[in-house]
Symmetry: C2
Subunit: 158 residues, 2 copies
Amino acid sequence: MAKVEPLTQTEEVLWRSLMRLVITLPRALGDDLVRARGMTANEYTTLMHLSEAPKRELGITDLAAAAALSVSRMSRLLDDLQARQLILKRRSETDGRGNIAYLTRQGLAALKSAYPEHLASVRRLVVDHIDDADKARTARVLEAVAISVDESATRRPK
Amino acid sequence: MAKVEPLTQTEEVLWRSLMRLVITLPRALGDDLVRARGMTANEYTTLMHLSEAPKRELGITDLAAAAALSVSRMSRLLDDLQARQLILKRRSETDGRGNIAYLTRQGLAALKSAYPEHLASVRRLVVDHIDDADKARTARVLEAVAISVDESATRRPK
DNA sequence: CCAAGCTACTTGCTTACGCAAGTAGACTCG
DNA sequence: CGAGTCTACTTGCGTAAGCAAGTAGCTTGG
């Protein structure tokens, strides 16, 4: 294994900024949401995914994939949400194995009431710092990277 | 609080991709590093920060800030690294309160030996998916966002 | 010059998470 | 149609992380 070509200056900045974001952003965002609504970012996005689903219900595995969490984590997260009446876990009628999560009226209300606050955070932390001219390009770049990472994650687990 | 203007389509893609990355990237990267070198991403970057410091030594608080970790976490992380002989914690001579971490010869060697592997991961997961033409712009955008999030984090803690 | 406050850690505790093993229901093909 | 495999969860457990409280050493204003 010979000498490796290091990253360029630009690539280095790109990389370090991304790593920093990756650590820092979820915390900042979660803090905002918790302070304002007593809800974590994962809980919020889980409710959001449910609200966008056909009959406002989804299986646990699907939800876990949508939120990029492990199935076990999602299972427990849903238990918490259920304890707060925001969702309902109920046995599927067509498939006896499992438990689909269903967004309750209160869950939808909680989601809607958290939305403005959350949206403001997203703007303040991220969107407002990007030039309109750069948005489309940046969106495409990030999307491509996100897809590549997802694939590498799903392809690997042997 | 009246109706809120939602994100544009483009902003939505940007945002969701970033969120996905934020969850997914550290896992993918950590997995690579752990598999190849038995080292977590935080351990790696901590060693890296040390290697870049003036006398290869830094206080725990500084290291924590550099890695965007809590001081307590960094304290324990350094204990682990010390147990593996990669760093040394020693009392500062000029300030009796603390404990500066010092990169050992073996620590530097471990860092160097992990570098090619790590660099390959970074390329495979991120850099290779970005057009050369887009790199500079993306780097600037991410840097700006990272700075904004950092500021919001340091300004808030009341 | 010393008391009050500040700083640099460490330690105890809680929480968020993933992995591995277990269980129960569905699917398949010989 | 039943044995073996597969799928959808749940539960037990270990690890990574943050927060809060404690301790010891520095700094400063009266």
